[in-house]
């Protein structure tokens, strides 16, 4: 399933807006063993970045203690119309991107 993004379609200039993201990922800790004793290799998202018209406005480092399907919600100020770009990077070359537009009036 692709990542879910919730960015308001419109906002007032200078207004505080909430951005929500949710991405499907197993977030395997790397600490668990199979029934026959083999270590299940770590497979997590390690970083999340949000850019607003090219500028990084939010970044999060993720760790094995974070549950599957990480949900992140954060706030920013609506400065200008444009585009939010989201990027998740993780183990085993994992990479996922998404974007959303906003009109600031």
């Amino acid at each position: 399933m692709p990542a879910l993004i919730n960015v308001p379609a419109k906002a007032k200039r200078g207004g505080v807006i909430e951005i929500r993201t949710l991405t499907s990922h197993i977030m395997e800790t790397g600490f668990r063993h199979t029934v026959d004793g083999k270590l299940v290799p770590r497979d997590i998202i390690t970083s999340f970045t949000c850019r607003y018209n090219g500028d990084e406005i939010f970044r999060a480092d993720l760790f094995p203690a974070i549950a599957a399907n990480p949900y992140l919600s954060f706030f920013t100020v609506a400065k200008e119309s444009g585009k939010f770009e989201f990027e998740w990077i993780g183990d085993n070359g994992y990479s996922s991107t998404a974007s959303a537009s906003i009109i600031v009036e």
């Binding site: 399933m1 879910l4 919730n6 599957a68 949900y71």
Partner: protein, 423 residues
Amino acid sequence: MNVPVTRRNAVLGITVAATSLIAPSILRAQSAGRIVVVGGGFGGAACARALKRADPRLQVTLIEPNKTFVSCPLSNAVIAGLRKMEAQQFGYDMLAAEGIAVVAQAATAIDTQKRSVTAADGTAFGYDRLVLSPGIDFHLEALPGYDAAASEKMPHAWKAGAQTLLLRKQLEAMADGGTVAIAIPANPSRCPPAPYERASLIAHYLKTHKPRSKVLILDAKDNFSQQRLFETAWKELYGDMIERVALSQGGRVTSVDPATMTIVTEFGNYTPDVANVIPPQRAGRIAEIAGAMDATGWCPIDPVSFESKLAPNIHVIGDACLGGGIPKSASAASSQGKACASAIVDLLAARAPEAPRLAGVCYNTVAPGYGFSLAGNYQPKGDIFAEVEGGTTSPVDAPRDLRAREAAETERWFETITADTFG
């Protein structure tokens, strides 16, 4: 003092100690004890009955505003048109005949100092011990847009009665090809598997009457009770009629707009034809008035005696209590009501109550003749109840005749618990 130790003397002893030898307390001790039970559902009615049966000298008062009780268990079948509403209704005549004073009023105030409950008409009822079995109320602050007016357009049908019939009427009025959305809150909530039973039985109605329609579940949970049993049955009986958006797929409902019939989730908006919105829940309002509810919205108790951790001389049973592993179900409430009655009899006799072993059973019907169940046993562990050994769940891979037997057993369970409580 050479007086034989009777229950009456023991009660007198407690009362004297508690009130520093104020004269009226001696008068109070002339009966074996005054117990007021607020709430006449499966918990409260079972408790009142068990108290009176354990000691006929107890003055037991049951305060319950509804003259007719409407059972939530099996009400999903009414919604699906498989059962008459009358089969869900029970009265309190038999309780009154056993000597329980049944007061058809809402309890509106509780004075824990004077140990008195006030009813809506102003009558006050003094008590030695008060049992609160108020069930749930809706936590409306947790669901912006939803209130009593909204429930007339987007019924919750989570308290059986007019709401059950309203949802039924909306399903009947819906055109073939419509979408029925069911918004499900996170736990703790009343009867955790019931929303999924409802989705199943609504799908049955749609399949047989409006086959182009769909059921859309918007869920604040990723996993739910008896999930594999439900999902297997859905696939087998209803194909892709039931679609579920789980928490991690953005299913949590954050607000509603009844004017536009919109359900807003964390990641999208839905405008179904019928919206069954089950709001987040908390203990019934009277528990908050009594000061027995904490910040969780539920009532912390001592699980051995059901005594409130927050309000003296008050016991809380059923959905309203903070029970831990024990589900908020009719059968668990009934089991708690009886155990609480036994604890109260012990406490009045200055004996320490024994730790109860409670049973809870939960039947789900996903189509006529297709049922499964979960039974659990629970015992006090610290401040809550923990599940102990002896529980069973129906197997996922079972022949249809077992499902048919369990569906028949559901009916028998209902007859038994309602006869036990009201009959």
